[in-house]
């Protein structure tokens, strides 16, 4: 239960950062926190107590059917994909943040308000 609570906490911290911080870079960081929280949650979904990592190290394992004692490998694969997506979004966000800094000479989101109405 505690890991799940940690996820929620992480998510809330991320949300807090995104909503309340004004610095663009901090917003990106907060956003990454949200992603990590969700990824962590997803990885936890596949967790099974006392099970092994889903890696076959000996040929015999295949034949003996040890595979049954593995944790669910699907979430891990999915989380990897999600991390890749997170990486690209973070990279794009950072590059946008840098462009914004070049244009507006500030990292303060509350001053970047040319679009309104």
């Amino acid at each position: 239960m505690i890991p799940y609570l940690a996820c929620v906490l992480l998510f809330l911290i991320g949300l807090y950062v995104v909503i309340s911080k004004r610095n663009l870079i901090k917003i990106v960081i907060g956003f990454s926190l949200i992603e990590y929280a969700v990824n962590l949650f997803f990885a936890l979904v596949g967790f099974k107590k006392g099970a092994l990592a889903p890696i076959i190290t000996q040929p015999e394992q295949v034949r003996m059917g040890v595979a049954r004692n593995f944790v669910d490998p699907v979430p891990q694969a999915l989380v990897l994909t999600a991390i890749v997506i997170g990486l690209s979004t973070t990279a794009l966000m950072l590059s946008l943040a840098m462009r914004l800094y070049e244009k507006y000479k500030t990292f303060d989101i509350s001053e970047i308000r040319r679009l309104k109405g």
Binding site: I55, I56, T57, Q58, V84, A91, S95, M98
Partner: protein
Amino acid sequence: MRGMSLIVQVMTGLLAGILLLYGGYIILHGHLTPGGGFAGGVLVAAALILVSLAFGAVEQVERREYILSSIFESSGGLLFLGLAVAGYLAADYFFRNAGLFYIGRPLELVSGGIIPLANIAIGLKVGAGLFAIFLALGASRFVMKE
């Protein structure tokens, strides 16, 4: 312009080769051990970024590197897609793994069908792509201005 200090440059020269090697290892063993194209590609990109941070480069070289890496990235993507299409053409299934390469012998390097090849393609794409992102972000500019 000149990059970082001599100590850093020497250390980088030592490390970069090892990093590249390790990245290649992870890419190639992606179907046997944890890791694979993405993780290995990140390592490769890290090595490249390290070198370019430590040694610096004139803008012209950066531009060339950027073009090169975008070419590599695209070819990685095309290779990956080509593998998928090869399975499609051979056996009607996108990413069909059977019937192309020898598969099914656990824990041997040449055993995963098209998976090692796909890992290589992904490694190419991720390595080149991350490096391209690094160049596009222009991080080196900030470092070198100091």
